[in-house]
């Protein structure tokens, strides 16, 4: 997707050119002065060791940029009202001078990036430097390694397929189905591209339990003399063993055997859908997997790009006359308005912090265990490993591991971080804590699974009636009930049999259900905390 900088400089109302047909128009090549700047900036970026796919800049005006941004950075997508809504919001925000997109870059080979025509020359330089940071990140960060690098073409194909289905089966029909798919688009397993969750089953392997369906399972015993029997094979151990075996057998007879996090894949494989519906569902799923790493690495990605635009611009890119404009826009991007956490700011400062620590050798056992405050403060082994370290970090980490590994107490103090939460008694958000562990925990929670609840398919033959049973892996935070109920309606459209989700409401385990006509909420009894 787009990595969009929403600067917050107000502009005057711009005159939009009238209708512009983007589908038929090709963007024009860069004018000579910008092309020359691109060559220079690209040279600087390479000299610093950044490594990226060929990068193509397109010059667009505000209206085109808003349209492209609404499509998630792509010139065309499948038809859907959601993009129209995004566009409306972006263009209204732009018209009223509330926000402005500075740059947009697509993870693709070659990388495509957009420059806004009305930006000043300094802005264009800054954006280019920033874009090369993103391109390097896209190419080298491990979490992007499984994304489709020909997504530009793929998205266009998706659009054509969806349009063809709309022509054949009706706009309303297909759009309604897309809505249902979008409702479950976040029920994917972001780690699945990297691990093998299931062994390929041999088709003649019917499971050990297949023949002994009705016999109770037999626990393993040690040989013993009669009088030693209670000691060598204690009865409670034996009964525990029987329970374990029984559970295991249950597990195997259940379908799916293990909870499946990739709900979309499960639906693709098992839901009774028509071929065109399967295709639409797989389109939405492919796109969800394509966009997931960008949500997973927002802080790092923006931090990395900001680090490089700042480095390149301040060391080589700037003419003396550019300084004021550059500073103005750079600080606008990194501005943290009171009580807001800006991922650009957090990212760049963490990268700088890491670079500084590894330059001065402030890591490892000796440093951690040092109790002397002054010694620790003046610690400097002249290790000079900073640059090397940040390149390594950008290769292997995502936001979750990045914060887990590198957010330090000192950093929290210096940047006045705090955690906040909702206080029902005052109906307001309040600062909860300034303690380092709590802040870190809160931030990690927000980043886990991209800030979304963990949900998996537990049983696709619930009550032996082919009903779909999902479980919410409860971690202390309840679901928004109204949304959950509506999501069930959409899920039912895909599964076509009653659907259920087990979650926790008001401290009690609860099953929310939808059977095609009405909702049911059932306390399943056990109290969880």
């Amino acid at each position: 997707m787009s990595e969009a900088i929403f600067g917050h400089r107000s502009l005057t109302k711009a005159d939009f050119p009238s209708q512009f047909d983007m589908a038929t128009a090709t963007f024009e090549p860069l004018p000579a002065n910008l092309a020359e700047i691109q060559v220079r900036i690209e040279g600087y970026a390479r000299d610093y060791g950044l490594d990226f796919y060929p990068t193509i800049f397109e010059l667009v005006d505000a209206d085109q940029l808003n349209a492209v941004a609404a499509y998630g950075g792509f010139p065309t997508r499948y038809p859907h009202w959601r993009f129209g809504m995004e566009y409306e919001q972006l263009s209204k925000g732009y018209t009223y001078g509330l926000q402005k997109i500075y740059e947009l870059v697509i993870n693709n080979n070659p990388c495509y990036a957009y420059l806004m025509r009305c930006n000043g020359l300094v802005d264009q330089k800054l954006v280019m430097a920033h874009v090369y940071g993103h391109c390097d990140f896209f190419k080298n960060n491990y979490w992007f390694s499984q994304t489709d690098r020909k997504m530009m073409d793929e998205m266009a194909n998706h659009g054509n397929r969806a349009r063809r289905y709309m022509d054949r089966f009706g706009v309303e029909e297909v759009e309604t189905f897309i809505d249902a798919c979008l409702s479950v688009e976040d029920l994917i397993d972001v780690h699945s591209p990297f691990v093998k969750r299931f062994e390929n089953r041999d088709k003649y392997d019917f499971g050990k339990a297949a023949d002994q369906e009705d016999e109770p399972p037999l626990p393993g015993r040690f040989q013993s003399k009669d009088y030693m029997e209670p000691f060598i094979n204690p009865p409670h151990v034996l009964s525990a063993e029987v329970d374990r075996l029984r559970k295991e057998r249950e597990q195997q007879s259940r379908f799916p055997a293990e909870p499946v996090r990739d709900v979309m894949l499960f639906l693709l494989e098992h839901a009774p859908l028509k071929p065109w519906q399967l295709d639409v569902l797989s389109i939405i799923r492919d796109e969800a997997y394509y966009f997931a790493p960008q949500a997973q690495t927002k802080i790092m990605n923006e931090g990395w790009a900001s680090y490089w635009h700042s480095t390149i611009m301040t060391r080589q890119g700037l003419e003396p006359a550019d300084i004021i404009n550059y500073c103005d826009h750079h600080s606008g991007t990194l501005a943290s308005s009171p009580n807001k956490l800006n991922p650009y700011k957090l990212g760049i400062e963490l990268f700088r912090d890491i670079e500084d620590r590894w330059n001065r050798g402030r890591f490892g056992k000796a440093y951690e265990e040092c109790d002397d405050w002054t010694a620790k403060r003046n610690w400097d082994t002249k290790a000079g490993l900073g640059r090397q370290k940040i390149f390594e970090v950008r290769k292997i980490h995502n936001d979750l591991t990045f914060i887990d590994e590198f957010l330090t107490l000192e950093f929290c103090r210096e940047y006045k971080l705090f955690s906040f939460g909702y206080n029902p008694s005052t109906d307001a958000y309040e600062i909860e804590s300034r303690e380092f562990p709590k802040i870190k925990q809160q931030l990690l929670f927000n980043l886990t699974n991209i800030g979304r609840p963990l949900i998996a398919v537990r049983d696709a033959n619930y009550k032996n009636r082919g009903e779909l049973f999902l479980e919410h892996q409860f971690n202390g935070v309840e679901l928004k009930t109204s949304y959950a109920l509506d999501t069930l309606v959409n899920l039912h459209r895909l599964w076509t049999r009653p659907v259920h989700i087990e979650t926790v409401l008001d401290g009690a385990a609860t099953i929310l259900s939808f059977d095609g006509t009405e909702h049911k909420t059932e306390k399943s009894g056990e109290i969880k905390t």
Binding site: A4, M22, L98, I431, I501
Partner: protein
Amino acid sequence: MRIEHDLSRFKQIVRGKIRQNLRKYVTHGELIGRKGRELVSIPLPQLDVPHFRYGKNGSGGVGQGDGEEGTQLGPGGESPGGAGQAGSDPGAHILEVEVSLEELALILGEELELPRIEPKGKPNIEQKKARYSSVRRSGPESLRHFKRTYMEALRRQISSNTYAPDSPRIVPIRDDKRYRAWTETELPEANAVVIYMMDVSGSMTDDQKEIVRTAAFWLDTWLHSQYRGVETRYIIHDAAAKEVDEETFYHTRESGGTRISSAYKVCVDLIAREFPPTDWNIYCFQFSDGDNWGEDNEKSLELLTDALLPQVNLFCYGQVESPYGSGEYIRSLEHAFGDGVSKLIVAEIENKEAVYPCLKRFLGTGV
């Protein structure tokens, strides 16, 4: 452009023209604008696709800045600055913008409309009225502007040295001649009059009058930006009613009892006198705390049913919440008319924030 197609699809859904089932997900996000010291919001309708999401107790996050533990960051309605999603928020800053009154009315204009406006007016009225207001170099002799022509000729003669002060004879040539010319002004095709009625009785506190005036002010601003030739009339009443000018309407302080029927009476007279319904679209907006004198209700309803409703295009009644009164008038209206009369719209306005929803109820396009 493809995005235009998606945009029109979205707008149709929001307006409820297609996909009715989706409308319940419409929420109204907003941009914050600023007018003088007042903050105004620019409405941005939003449609949510439902997902499994964390509820309110999970909407905490990490922020940055000063403040003690327990410092409030913002009301519970929305998460402060979206920091709850530190990882995925695009860092969109909601900022305040200066918005002019005209722009604001334009923004409102996308959301509101004057319902049931019809082309009315005297059939023999000319659509265009000519008024002699300027001067041209050509025209019929009958319209020759003698003074201007003389001036031009004099000027030419002086500058070309053919003017003799001793025998001042001025002979205009063709280039000197000036003619009266007219400009055409268009008459509004649909005449509309808006009549505001406000209860200024003792039970209306200053706060409530403020709310009413805010509502009336926005109605006025919007109407004038959208429709040309809208007449406005103001009526205030306590136990007795009178027609007043704009200045008085917005600034008067009165006290006394409440007889809504008195305002209706004045309104009926006004319509009879100046705005025959055959020629005018008539819109009435009445604001009160609903604390009418008991025996007056019947009379009011009678006047409304028999005299007012048949004549007007729309009758809106907005009731502000009263700290004293019973506010029963709105209920007697609802009781008497139910939902059956589409010309009558009632709304309750609890506080200043409710002014906008109230306007939308009165003039909403269904957005």
